[in-house]
């Protein structure tokens, strides 16, 4: 049985005319938690955006496959419907669209099935409770006037509701206090099972004390320079990235 979910081969990506990823390789199987760490500007967020095929990032070489299917040039929404989710570092504010309506619509698009409003609202309430979110946020405009922490929790809420096969968390822990990080970790634990996978992109290790990654990758200057287990994250926490820079 093939357990492979995502495979990135020799990927080169430009952002704003500048080459950011320079021969990236990555393989993620079902049931795994991967972590990409790296200094600022190493290409962490570019990796996430490239997987979702953000049109602002141009691929010049390489392929991305998901469950054996080439998604290198698929449209973002098609990739999302195949089961890849990205938690944004800076979630967009959408005035006039409530969290409930947005998520109901998104769930309908992702599952291709009608969403039963009563059941859906109960599900939403349950998840919000787990994430320590005020239920009044259900009727508020998406991310408008949310604090940084609330926006990140709202991303995790979306993760739980949309239940993808692969969750990419782009700097979800950045700018959060200890309690918020715990809540976010709890959300990820709730999501995680043997059939799905998580890719955590971060530049610190705080979030990792609650989650047990299977693989830790060090990304420097657009390439993965070292892959290890949880101990590698600890080592970086103590010594930084200088060892991996040229």
């Amino acid at each position: 049985m093939n357990n492979n979910l995502l495979e990135i081969k020799d990927l080169y990506v430009n952002a704003e005319e500048k080459e950011i990823l320079k021969g990236m390789n990555l393989k993620i199987n079902k049931g795994e938690i991967h972590v990409i760490m790296g200094p600022n500007g190493s290409g962490k967020s570019t990796t996430a955006n490239a997987i979702l095929n953000n049109p602002s990032y141009k691929k010049t070489n390489g392929t991305i496959t998901f469950e054996g299917e080439d998604i290198t040039n698929s449209k973002t929404d098609e990739i999302a419907r195949k089961g890849i989710f990205m938690s944004f570092q800076l979630p967009e504010e959408i005035p006039g669209v409530s969290v409930t309506n947005f998520l109901k619509y998104a769930k309908n698009k992702v599952t291709g099935k009608p969403v039963k409003i009563f059941e859906f609202k109960n599900e939403l309430k349950k998840y919000m409770e787990e994430l320590n979110m005020n239920p009044s946020y259900m009727e508020r405009s998406l991310n408008v006037g949310f604090s940084g922490g609330e926006k990140k929790k709202n991303e995790i809420l979306q993760l739980l509701v949309l239940n993808p096969k692969l969750a990419i968390l782009d700097e979800t822990d950045s700018g959060l206090d200890v309690d918020a990080i715990k809540t976010v970790s709890k959300g990820i634990e709730m999501f995680k099972n043997k059939k799905n996978a998580v890719l955590i992109i971060t530049h610190n290790t705080k979030i990792l004390s609650n989650l047990k990654p299977d693989y830790v990758h060090v990304l420097v200057d657009g390439k993965i320079v070292k892959t290890g287990d949880y101990k590698l994250a600890k080592e970086i926490e103590e010594n930084g990235y200088s060892k991996y820079r040229n």
Partner: protein
Amino acid sequence: MSKTKIEDINRNIYDIKNKDEYEFKIEKGLTPDIIKEISKQKDEPDWMRDFRLKALEVYNKLDLPTWGPDISELNMNDIATYVKPKSKLNSSWDDVPEDIKNTFDKLGIPEAEKESLAGVGAQYDSEVVYHSMKEELIKQGVIYTDMETAVRKYPGIVKEHFMKCVPIYDHKFVALHGAVWSGGSFVYVPEGVKVDIPLQSYFRLNSPEAGQFEHTLIIVNEGASLHFIEGCSAPKYNKVNLHAGCVELYVKDNAHLRYSTIENWSKNMLNLNTKKALVGKNASMEWVSGSFGSKVSMLYPMSILNGEGAKTEFTGISFAGKGQNLDNGFKVVHNAPNTSSVVNSKSISKDGGKCTYRALTRINEQAKKSKGMVSCESLMLDDISISDTIPVNDVRTDDAEFSHEAKIGKISDKAIFYLMSRGMSEEDAKAMIVRGFAYPISKELPVEYAVEMNNLINLELEGAIG
């Protein structure tokens, strides 16, 4: 990002054209004889006939406006001003002729009435053919009828108010309106009566070359309150069509009036509508306005705050697509102390459509401690569409507060990517952003009208592209 095509609003249900069946159609062009004939046909009292002739004189003297969108294609001689439908005024839906009924059926009027509406005055061409009102309102002394009937049955009230709020000298199209007005609604709410269900009127144009000159006169007396809803849509024709209606609203002391309207004209229409409210002491006047369709629109509702503590609020949205030039806005004059005005205007333009917000806020010297607040926001869906803001702020006292905020923006690629990453197509994402943008206006409308507006920007936009 690849170019997205958001289709035009699906106008199928609005562009239904009936056979050109009229028992009476006036000759083209405007002469005193034609005006007399209109008046005779309507069986009007002499004073109204003389008023029309006076207005015609003023019309002939005034020039076309020299500012705003180009309306030079307009040829008044081409526009038949009066078309009388085959049916007379009916009080029961069963009596309405079949083809007219079909048109209304497709616009959902009987269904709407079944809901919570207190009365329906639907204007077919130039005369009201369908009218009903709940007993309760009659008992409370509320008068809701078509304008022609009001002229005959309530001459005292009409004479005192008719074109006193909007004088025929205001501009050329108001003078024209005074000469040829036909149809429209008359509402009179007695002192202290609170009408708790919205009154609705629905009118549309259905004749080639026919202008529509309906007159709406609403009087809300001391301490009374009313919500009136006016909506229009017109079938599509190739020739230029003119709409020069007139709305006069009298909001007496301590009274409250909300006037909601959705103007949804076919894309060949020149919409030059004039609307004005006189607001008394501690009274409040709320406008909710959606402007869709039409080729050119020049629409600037106005509140004149004459009484101390008078308030007004304007919430409006315009949507301009290909070939459309919507020049809309709001005017307010503060004439008394402690008055306040709040303006929230939004516009959406796409496919080269042009939206202009043109507005006036004047706070006169005697309007001490008054407050004015204007906020306008524009959303452009592509690089070829145009949005402009031309506010005139004229504050003549130091003892007043005024603020103006304008935001013009293009739909954000980042926001589109965010929504697409949640499984929505690019078109769905754009539609959701537009819906959200319009939400502050649609939420102000009663359900039936929010649905119509949803038909226009939400569902139709989504349906056409989804």
